[in-house]
């Protein structure tokens, strides 16, 4: 009698466990399909990271805009974060006024292309005054001018299979964005800061601007943009150089 009961209990427990694990697996598949799983979902901080990313992605599904400011609110001090690349290719291009600099755009695109700085400056420009916070805690408001990333994406014909855009700079801080952020109205490639050519310390000649994330996502010193369908085989697979030094890939906070 008691043997029957415990066998039944075991069976029920086993079936529940199988259903639970299957349920979790299905939920993960669905979440991944809708782009709710960040590349750095693994490890002990994975659950918190995934919850934050998925919640914010759902919350911002309508393409919400970061706050914009008036010219009178622009900060007098624009702090510099990190040194400019001291290596030869960058310093040589800088000395030549970036005349020989080219931006490569490739990966899952119909027309892989390279653009000179002049070509980029002739594209339809966008200017916006936004707030930028560093993960350290300091912040500033600045006016940026550049070309919307979505314009470049339409120009090269990004494939429907693409899920991430990867930015390769002249330094080590490569990073990536998901496609909702890449197509976002306030994401652009900036070449002008507060009315002047982007200074070398702020990422000359071209940097990314992502208004709805912390500063470290706005990659400086761009040289290549690649569209991929998965971050698994890019770098260490965690979406950017940030997780290796302890920082999260997603920084909408």
């Amino acid at each position: 009698m008691s043997g029957n009961v415990s066998r039944r209990k075991l069976l029920t427990t086993g079936l529940t466990a199988v259903a639970g694990v299957t349920g979790l697996g299905v939920a993960a598949k669905i979440a991944d399909h809708y782009g709710l799983i960040p590349p750095d979902w693994g490890g002990i901080w994975g659950p918190g990271e995934t919850l934050t990313y998925a919640t914010q992605r759902l919350l911002m599904a309508s393409g919400s805009l970061a706050r914009e400011f008036n010219r009178s609110e622009v900060s007098k001090v624009v702090p510099v974060s990190g040194p400019q690349p001291k290596t030869d290719p960058y310093q040589r291009l800088l000395a030549g006024g970036f005349a020989d600099w080219r931006l490569t755009v490739n990966g899952l695109v119909a027309r892989p292309s390279t653009f000179s700085l002049d070509e980029i400056k002739r594209m339809p420009a966008k200017t916006q005054i936004t707030h930028q916070a560093c993960e350290e805690g300091w912040s500033f408001i600045a006016e940026w001018t550049g070309v919307p990333l979505s314009y470049v994406m339409n120009l090269v014909g990004v494939s429907e299979k693409a899920k991430f855009v990867v930015f390769y700079p002249f330094d080590e801080s490569w990073d990536s964005l998901d496609l909702p952020d890449a197509y976002h109205a306030q994401t652009f490639l900036a070449y002008n800061l507060n009315g002047q050519d982007l200074p070398a310390d702020h990422g000359a000649p071209l940097r990314v601007r992502v208004a709805r994330q912390l500063g470290y996502k706005s990659v400086k010193y761009l040289q290549k943009i690649t569209f991929v369908d998965s971050m698994k085989h890019v770098g260490d697979g965690r979406g950017s150089a940030a997780p290796a030094s302890g920082y999260s890939w997603y920084a909408g906070i």
């Binding site: 990271e49 911002m60 706050r67 001090v77 350290e136 300091w138 912040s139 709805r212 302890g246 906070i253």
Partner: protein
């Protein structure tokens, strides 16, 4: 029925009822989950703070602009703020989810109204003065006080649950450019991004102060007895209570 034992009038209840549960399972589970998350939040929050131990008011601030508070701590870059942030958000999820569970069930079961809202007469001047005087001279609480909350406890718990924690969540949200793109009022009502960060820091200090006083009072009242009550739900020796 068990609810009545929370009230001071419990002293007139029968022995069998005096042994009833002091804390419900839900209050105990959420208490300890919250303890874990709060410790993690304080440790990781301090880690994040070390990247820039300086505070400003308004929208912006940084080295080269005037500050309102400079903590005597070193600027530590590229270290604790990384894992600190990962840990802070994981702990914040635990804190918010257990907090919601606690707050909703406390409202539904009327735990807040029955046990935390000051009882009749507790808010009188003489009662408040007595209670404050007892606390200031570290008078050991009477045994029957293990069964209810005194007025200072009630008021501080209400402030923590309904003011400090919501303020932490509010100012935390205000520091997220993603969240404020959807709900800008989080940051505008905080007085700007840097103001939100400053309020977040000071409110965190008040929470730490609350925890220190809370633990000190538990030690004063009898650490083992009170801690066991929060684990098992029962007051040891309750039956022999005067």
């Amino acid at each position: 029925m068990a609810q009545t034992t929370y009230l001071p009038s419990a002293t007139i209840l029968e022995a069998s009822e005096q042994n009833a549960a002091r804390f419900s399972v839900l209050v105990r589970v959420t208490h300890w989950l919250n303890t874990v998350s709060l410790v993690a939040l304080v440790v990781s929050g301090f880690g994040i703070l070390l990247a820039h131990p300086r505070f400003y008011w308004g929208e912006t601030g940084g080295l080269g602009t005037p500050s309102i508070l400079d903590l005597p701590l070193p600027f530590m870059l590229g270290g604790p703020s990384g894992w600190g942030r990962y840990m802070h958000f994981q702990a914040a999820w635990l804190c918010v989810l257990t907090g919601l569970l606690y707050a909703i069930s406390g409202l539904l079961s009327q735990h807040f109204r029955k046990n935390l809202w000051p009882a009749k007469g507790q808010l009188s001047w003489s009662s408040l003065r007595n209670e404050l005087w007892n606390h200031l001279r570290f008078k050991k609480p009477a045994a029957e006080e293990a069964y209810s909350y005194n007025v200072l406890q009630r008021l501080s718990y209400l402030v923590v649950v309904f003011f400090l924690f919501p303020l932490m969540i509010w100012t935390g949200m205000a520091m997220s450019p993603a969240v404020t793109s959807v709900f800008p009022f989080f940051v505008t009502l905080s007085g700007g991004y840097e103001s939100a960060r400053t309020i977040h820091f000071f409110a965190a200090n008040l929470l730490v102060l609350f925890v220190l006083v809370h633990v000190a009072m538990v030690c004063l009242a009898g650490f083992v007895q009170r801690t066991m009550a929060m684990i098992t739900g029962r007051v040891i020796g309750g039956r022999e209570r005067p």
